[in-house]
Amino acid sequence: MSETSIQARANPVPVLPERAPSPRLSRFRYLRKGLRALASLRLTVFLFVLSMFLVFCGTLAMMDHGLWATLSQYFRAFLAWIPLQVFVRLGQVFFGVPTSWHVAGSFPFPGGWTLGAALLVNLLAAHIVRFRFTWKRAGILLLHTGLLLLMLGELVTGLFAVEGVMTIPVDGSCNYVENTDQMELAFVWPADAHNDHVVVVPDDLLRQGGAIRHEALPVDIDVVRYVANSTLTEDAPPPAQNLATRGFGLETAVLEQPPGRGVDANQKRDMPSAYITLKDKKTGQGLGTYLVSAWFSVPQKVEVDGTAYQMSLRFRRSYRPFTFHLKELRYETHHGTSLAKEYASVIQVIDPEHGEDREVTIYMNHPLYYQGETFYQANVNVTKAGEFTGLQAVRNPGWPIPYVACTLVSGGMALHFLLHLRDFLRRKVLS
């Protein structure tokens, strides 16, 4: 075969009669053309510029909106609306722009999902169009595969990762993880000696307002006023202006706060409050208007038909088949200072399903991996009510992806640059 091919090349090529390109071929050519456009390095550079601008503006936006809001509005979004105010804020920090300035308006910009997808397409197209394997390109190939994986990993994390908090008092137990992004209105009443009935109303329903009716609920609910982010006053409001007629609301009032602060450096989150009127399900008779708030650390008692219900607006809980019992909470400071040296929680893991009952210690940089979830020592709260440990609970099915991806990228880059360095040094020696 090889001989004939050499032969064919050696002979003058016979001139073929001209023929119109077949429609299939031309369609293929268009496809190739399209791919080539998608694979262009100019597009890559352009997308890089857009990405940098997005990351930069997102970082600036964190000053006003906190980390979490920015994450969902800029990086994990298809379209980001960038307020002009972010540039004013930049000016305020660095260029002495007066702090009173405020500029309204915003402009649309491709979000993280869009740019990521575009980069992905660009990368794939580039490899389809220009694919050929040589040792010289092995590094590039490896590193681009890694990048692809890295982007997919962030996608998986964005879509599927769940983060929550487990707060356990010293000598207390906990079998649920709280999702601090969402709230729920819970009614709890005892079922038997060891178990409780729990019925919850999602935060979204309260936010919508109006009447909430459900057969599982012990009462009917009318939302009078919902405040997405609030603080509470220290003093009781004058009765004439108070929406609440019973419960904790008699002693405090709600102050509305701008929503969307999300998490800032102090891990602050939106703290909603609501005035709700409870009604008897059978008679429709009013049972009073209560104030429920994320700020209340203990539930309020509501009595309906002789049953006492515990009512609270709390972080949404998801229950686990295992229980953590906090045996000991260690927090040390460096001698003679208030600087923290170490936080550690000694936990008894009790899991009847898997027959486990063992002691583990969770501390900084040493989390516990359990049942597909990872528990990290996040904080320690010492309040009048007692000492609590805060464990960060993370379930991320995509967690191994970045590890593989990074190994590929770093290895690829190192290989590529080493090959180049070798060539460069060789040329230097030869010249």
Partner: protein, 608 residues
């Protein structure tokens, strides 16, 4: 090269070494009857770490006075340790003694003019007159302290970010006074007695007095302080000897470490490095004007000597913190390490390309980063303890080192770009061949920068994943590192795609400087996230100034070529003649041989 010329580098290097050794020699006070310098090397525990009295004295004086020495009433410059002892002998105990028994003690600590008060309104509040140096003694405004306290209490309730210069002045002075009071009340606040067993903690005078009685509490430092107050050198020295022996038996490692730290403070290696880098920079610049070969060689080897001192100082810091391979623990050390990396990288470039540019860039980067570090370190202990989450040597040694190397390489690439643009626009130095060499250098450094910043960022991600379950947290500092990675990748891709030519690459590399500046200092100013180390006015201003200079360079780089001074040389395909136009271009070996044949100058920065 004549014999005299070949000697020049060695003479200069020799002089530098002699200078360094002279700086290491013990201070003159060691000959004084009271052995203050030996007292300065004794260990104590303060702010959670064991340090010599010398460090406590210098850092405190630095905070209060922005200097490590003070000028006494007779106009003599005195070391910080003397000020510390003067403050320790001006406390409540000595004041009470004076009140009961007449003026027995000098209370010199109150009379030294050390409190730096810059704001004229604060000076007026204290009923003082403005004076040169803006430093005042406590005795001068003692009677107005209640007014200051009143104002300080009011200001303490306000948001620290929104303070006026006057309020900030009051706030600062109040905190300086608190530090003074802490030192004057040393019996309750300073942990001066070492533990006798490893499980115990260091103790204050008061604690020892309560536990072991007055006799035990009076031994050691308290006796020395009393002897100092009475100017009794004999007792002071005798007790010093005894106490040092006692501590040496109990805590040998602490004594060694604090001795090293006191020596480190005295030698001030980073200060010496700053001076030497400036000198190297001047040599490098001079070499452009003439006598190129010997001066360049001298600059190179002097830079190497300085780099050795710089390296040893970094190692000494690791020893003092007892964290091996951890180069960076705070902003101060990041500046010191970035400086080190820049110098090392630039000298490597010099070794590879022999064009004199590496020397100048090395010296420039070294000196500038040292000055930045000096500024960053002026507000306290640069070896201070770390937050618990940072308390891991492995990640500090890998992630932080890599990211910082990434910053370093991006800066070096950026300054190569600056050299390309300034050399091209202002001087006729940039020939086609020089431009090619510079581009090669830039390209190599950029590749290294991309590799380092990417690897570093990723290692940070892994650390984050291990510490709080988030590979990527979109924290401002992380985003800053991401910007550097994307930027470097952008420049490389633009180059590969033929979108930019050498000049474009130089311009983009300078933009890289701005991006890195943002990531290094800018992101900290936003007050958001895990890496927020606090806001700093001067840092923000400094960053803005840096950005403006870089923008100016970028603007020059974008000028049409016909306005470049190198417009004509850029068309030539050979390097500029070394002797005619001493701004040194690239010489690769082929050119060097040819030019040597013609009897023209050629040089290599090292001994042949």
């Amino acid at each position: 090269m004549s014999k005299a010329e070949s000697l020049v580098p060695w003479v200069l290097v020799g002089l530098a070494v002699i200078y360094l050794i002279a700086m290491m020699a013990p201070p003159i006070e060691s000959a004084a009857p009271m052995r203050l310098d030996e007292f300065a090397a004794l260990p104590l525990e303060d702010e959670g770490r064991v340090k010599p009295y010398d460090t406590l004295a210098r850092n405190s004086l630095m905070i209060i006075s922005s200097r490590q020495t003070f000028v006494d009433e007779d106009g003599h410059t005195q070391p910080a340790i003397r000020w510390l002892l003067d403050v320790m002998t001006s406390g409540p105990l000595f004041q009470a003694a004076n009140q009961q028994q007449g003026p027995k003690f000098a209370l010199a600590g109150e009379k030294h003019q050390v409190f730096r008060i810059d704001n004229p309104e604060v000076v007026a509040l204290l009923g003082l007159k403005r004076r040169e140096g803006s430093r005042y003694a406590l005795a001068e405004f003692r009677d107005r302290l209640d007014k200051l306290e009143q104002e300080a209490k009011r200001i303490a309730k306000k948001d620290p970010k929104g303070l006026t210069p006057y309020e900030k002045g009051v706030h600062d002075l109040a905190s300086h006074l608190q530090l003074y009071i802490k030192l004057a009340n040393w019996m309750e606040t300073l942990y001066i007695f070492p533990p006798s067993t490893p499980d115990e903690e260091w103790q204050t005078f008061q604690e020892t007095n309560a536990e072991a009685g007055l006799k035990a509490a009076l031994s050691g430092v308290p006796t020395m302080v009393m002897a100092y107050a009475r100017n009794d050198a004999k007792t002071f020295n005798a007790e010093l000897e005894a106490f040092r022996k006692q501590v040496g038996e109990l805590r040998p490692a602490d004594v060694r470490r604090s001795g090293t730290e006191a020596f480190f403070n005295h030698f001030a290696p980073f200060y010496q490095c700053t001076l030497l880098y400036i000198f190297v920079f001047l040599l490098g610049c001079l070499s452009w004007l003439g006598w190129t070969r010997p001066l360049n060689r001298a600059a190179f080897w002097l830079a190497v000597v300085t780099l050795v001192v710089h390296t040893l100082a970094l190692i000494a810091r690791m020893y003092l913190m007892n964290r091996w391979f951890v180069f960076v623990t705070n902003l101060y050390s990041s500046a010191v390490f970035i400086g080190w990396g820049c110098v090392a990288l630039c000298l490597l470039l010099e070794k590879l390309f022999h064009n004199g540019l590496g020397n100048v860039l090395a010296a420039f980067c070294g000196a500038v980063t040292m000055l930045v570090a000096h500024h960053l370190g002026s507000d306290g202990d640069t070896l201070a303890l770390l937050q618990p989450v940072l308390d891991t040597n492995f990640w500090l040694a890998t992630h932080v080192t890599c990211v910082t190397m990434g910053y370093t390489a991006t800066f070096v690439a950026g300054f190569l770009g600056v050299a390309y643009i300034l050399g091209g626009v202002i001087t006729p130095w940039l020939s086609k061949a020089t431009a090619k060499t510079l581009t090669q250098m830039l390209y190599g450094v950029l590749c290294f920068a991309t590799l380092m910043s990417f690897t570093g960022t990723v290692l940070g991600g892994i650390w984050a994943d291990q510490s709080w379950g988030r590979f990527w947290g979109w924290d401002p500092k992380e985003n800053g590192a991401l910007l550097i990675v994307i930027w470097n990748a952008l420049v490389l891709h633009a180059r590969w795609g033929g979108m930019i030519k050498p000049r474009g690459m130089a311009v983009l590399a300078v933009v890289g400087n701005m991006v890195t500046g943002w990531s290094w200092f800018g992101t900290n100013q936003l007050g958001v996230g895990l890496h927020a180390y606090g806001f700093n006015d001067t840092l923000a201003t400094g960053l803005v100034v840096f950005w403006v200079t870089q923008l100016a360079v970028i603007g020059m780089g974008l000028l049409p070529l016909r306005f470049w001074a190198s417009h004509e040389t850029l068309l030539l395909d050979k390097p500029t003649n070394l002797e005619d136009k001493p701004l040194v271009p690239a010489v690769d070996k082929r050119h060097r041989k040819r030019s040597t044949k013609r009897g023209e100058a050629s040089y290599s920065p090292g001994p042949a």
